[in-house]
Amino acid sequence: MQKMIDIPRQVLVEEELMQPGMTSCQGCAAPISMKIALKALGERTVVVLPACCFAVFVGGYPYSSLKVPIIHCPFETAAVVASGAAAALDVRGEKDVVVMAWAGDGGTFDIGMQALSGAAERNENILFVCYDNEAYMNTGIQRSSATPMGAWTTTTPAGSIKEESKKDIEQIMLAHHISYMATASAAYPDDMFRKFRKARQITGMKFIHLLSACPPGWRIDPANSIQVMRMATQSNVFPIYEVNKLRFSKDNQRFEEDWEYTINVFPERKVSVKGYLKSQGRFGLITDEMIDYTQKKVDRKWNELVQKQDNTNQVIQRQAGIC
């Protein structure tokens, strides 16, 4: 029996908000993610695009492959332009329009960081999506702070592959006390669809971290991009979970805040971290020590996640007076 991808058929067959003709590379996962995101958000959406692969292949002005409005903006300003658009829509009273900033890892982890941090702190009513292909792919595969340890890029070439770990953007965003944080992957489209639908309902800053395979930059066969992304989750390198902000009052006096962690995908078929890394050409030069280190780090992060989810359950039960 097949595990069906649980997206309502009604939604699948209705008019697509993304049109073909984009110049994305063969096998790029970003259009798949955008397609699912727009299916979930609907046509009352504004997309803010800083400099990134997507801004290039969606079609430069005056062309666009999306049937929703796009604002092209400078690299570092995605979050702040989105904040402005959201404020303007608020003034016009168009409460049902969601503003989605759609930035790559450069526009999130590095160059877009200050604007993002500011918007997150102000808890602006925007949805910030980072489609993370783990390097500056658009300009020809340069290292970013999202590039994982051991990866080859043109600025970490053979002989000096990247030795630093990937920046933990999820914890950074949670440190801003935003309303909703989730990770998702196009390899699990129904989970992604549900998260975008959910984010649309939440007021305040929403952050969704998407893994997005890049066949030329990851040195993989275009046909395998979804498969490799699935392996990232199966090996726990990219765990799929979501974090809600819980607000509850004790005796109607004191407010407490807590994080509600939910792990959405518990991989049934486990893949080793080594198996995931070795499936990509960019890790062809990785050393065994780096693999061991990554495996340990991944295991630790996973255990912490499971621990946090257990804590959440305990907190919820305590609040409900169960224990």
């Binding site: 097949q2 049109q19 003709g21 096998g27 970003a30 079609g59 275009p222 046909a223």
Partner: protein, 606 residues
């Protein structure tokens, strides 16, 4: 005028008036002019392939097809679809060696689909009470009708009669026995294959217009020459019934050394059989196991003596296990060396020699080697010999050489002989050089029927063969020969086999099969009645739910969801499957790698 146009445009784009239109430069241009299809060097096409189960079936049974129909609860359609390739589901659902289940791709995940049980379910649900819906109407073209005489009513004879009838032949089956069915009726005991099941399949054949002539022995009641003169085609299917003699017993005159096959036949005919208290069965094939379990049911203490080990045994492992449960003792790696007789020609003792396995021989199994001097005694009253059966060629005259142990046939199963005199004589089943299983016999019948039809139409069989061969083996598809529509109306590729390496197991959920309801050994060992129930409707539907539909599109929408270029177009279920927009498909191949069942093929452009 311009203002009017602008306000029309404003309303079209959901603004209240043109003043609401943003003063920024807004473009509505799209990228559809950029036909990215030009990037492509390989393109995807939807193409149904041969699942591993169908590839493993010697008869080329379209298992996935009828399992899908069954899953849709279209029981009657499933029955007739199954009968397209494999005419006797109630019989093969009980006695088949189930090559399909060994090949099932689901074994990687949990356990194979119980295809044999499902086939039995389909066969039992619908006894053939109505004539075949695809039976040709012969009225008005009688000059083109050819006649076929089938000698022997075993599985290959039944099969050739069925398929030839569907091809419009006038068919008569001759059998020397009063009970029709050959090995199915006389060789296989009632507890494995009840006699009513065989009888009802013959009712089905007569409903199709096949003439049945039991009690007619060719070569005795009617000479073979009469058949070859009166009928356009003759099909020989008299099987292998002459037991091979042991050298050891050749010179012994002892009524307690018997042929296992003869015992099975006597029991099937209802004759009284006198077996001693302690029975030894020599051999490791299905006849040996059937004889051993028959003897157990007659209250004997049974030992099976086989010269190789369990893994080399030709009998089906499941049969061996059930025989062991019923109390049959197996002595592996042992061969009879000497038999001592009492003065009254009863058996005093059977002396066996221990064996060990040597290097592999031409059959691919380890050759047993005698351990000199290591012997043991088996006290027995009766010895049943089941070391093989050979065909009986007496009635064939000079068509066979005296040295032949099988009939030599050409590719089209017509017999190769120095003295055919233009007769159109074909042969199948255990008489020719194929494995001795029921399903191989059925497959040979199908092949011969198609070969005769080709001969009738004046078409070269070798040309047709390449068009109707399915999978990587020798199986032929009758549906392809008849141009019957497949279950999925999409392109069919009969050469590509979908094995477990091509299945994306991430998309399948573990789901154990239903437990078989088998009577416990101490209850079943006293009775010749069947001990194993047909699946219930719920169990059958549970099993069909487990089928992964390898190589066949099920409209699961995976390709639709994952296409990065929005180039898989849904047809909202008006017609089957999806369309591909080749103007924009870049040929990335994600649809293929994410297809759970490999129903897409990438083909080179240009």
């Amino acid at each position: 005028m311009a203002a009017k146009k602008r306000s029309e445009m404003a309303i079209k784009h959901k603004f209240k008036s043109y003043r609401d239109i943003t003063p920024m430069h807004v473009s509505l241009g799209n990228m559809l002019h950029n036909k990215t299809g030009g990037w492509r060097f390989i393109k995807p096409i939807y193409e149904d392939k041969i699942p591993a189960c169908q590839n493993a079936c010697p008869a080329g049974n379209d298992i996935e097809g009828w399992v899908k129909l069954l899953n849709n609860k279209e029981y009657e359609k499933a029955y007739w679809h199954l009968k397209r390739e494999e005419p006797f589901p109630a019989i093969l659902g009980r006695v088949c060696f189930k090559f399909c289940e060994d090949a099932c791709n689901r074994t990687v995940l949990d356990d194979c689909i119980q295809i044999k049980e499902l086939e039995r379910f389909v066969g039992d649900q619908f006894a053939p009470a109505t004539p075949h819906p695809e039976l040709p109407d012969n009225n008005g073209q009688s000059d083109k009708i050819r006649s076929l005489a089938v000698v022997g009513s075993g599985p290959s004879g039944m099969s050739v009669a069925y398929f030839a009838r569907l091809l419009g032949f006038r068919v008569t089956i001759f059998d020397k026995e009063a009970l029709l069915g050959g090995i199915l009726r006389l060789g296989i005991p009632n507890y494995r294959l009840p006699r009513q099941v065989v009888a009802s399949e013959f009712e089905g054949l007569s409903l199709m217009g096949v003439e049945l002539r039991p009690n007619t022995e060719i070569g005795k009641d009617i000479p073979l020459e009469t058949l070859t003169q009166t009928f356009d085609y003759v099909f020989l299917a008299t099987g292998a019934h002459r037991s091979v003699q042991m050298e050891l017993t050749a010179n012994l005159s002892c009524c307690q050394i018997m042929s296992a096959m003869n015992i099975l036949k006597q029991v099937a005919r209802g004759e009284t059989v006198a077996l001693g208290k302690r029975v030894a069965v020599i051999g490791g094939g299905n006849t040996a196991i059937d004889a051993a379990r028959t003897a157990i049911r007659m209250g004997c203490h049974v030992t099976v003596i086989y010269r190789r080990s369990l893994t080399e045994m030709p009998a089906h492992p499941e049969e061996v296990r059930e025989a062991q449960e019923e109390g049959v003792i197996f002595r592996f790696l042992a061969a009879p060396e000497d038999i001592t007789l009492n003065a009254d020609t009863t058996i005093e003792n059977l002396v066996c020699c221990e064996m060990e396995l040597g290097p592999t021989d031409e059959s691919g199994r380890c050759r047993p080697i005698r351990k000199e001097g290591v012997t043991f005694d088996v006290p027995v009253d009766t010895i049943l010999v089941a070391i093989g059966e050979n065909p009986d060629f007496d009635y064939l005259g000079r068509r066979v050489r005296s040295s032949d142990t099988i009939i030599r046939t050409g590719d089209d199963l017509s017999i190769l002989s120095d003295h055919t005199d233009g007769e159109k004589v074909f042969a199948g089943g255990d008489m020719i050089d194929i494995p001795h299983t029921v399903v191989h016999a059925v497959a040979s019948g199908k092949k011969a029927a198609i070969a005769m039809d080709c001969d009738r139409r004046g078409v070269a069989f070798s040309d047709v063969l390449n068009q109707i061969r399915i999978g990587s083996g020798d199986a032929l598809s009758f549906s392809r020969y008849m141009n019957w529509a497949p279950v999925n109306p999409v392109l069919q590729n009969d050469q590509k086999v979908v094995d477990s390496t091509k299945i994306v197991y991430d998309y399948f959920i573990k789901m154990p099969g239903c437990e078989k309801t088998i009577q416990p050994a101490d209850l079943r060992k006293d009775s010749f009645e069947p001990y194993h129930a047909t699946l219930s409707v719920e169990e059958a539907l549970h099993e069909t739910e487990r089928c992964m539909h390898c190589g066949r599109c099920t409209e699961c929408d995976n390709c639709l969801i994952f296409c990065p270029d929005v180039s898989i177009l849904d047809q909202t279920r008006e017609t089957f499957g999806y369309a591909i927009d080749y103007d924009y498909c870049k040929g990335c191949g994600i649809c293929l790698t994410e297809c759970p069942r490999h129903a897409i093929t990438m083909v080179a452009e240009g």
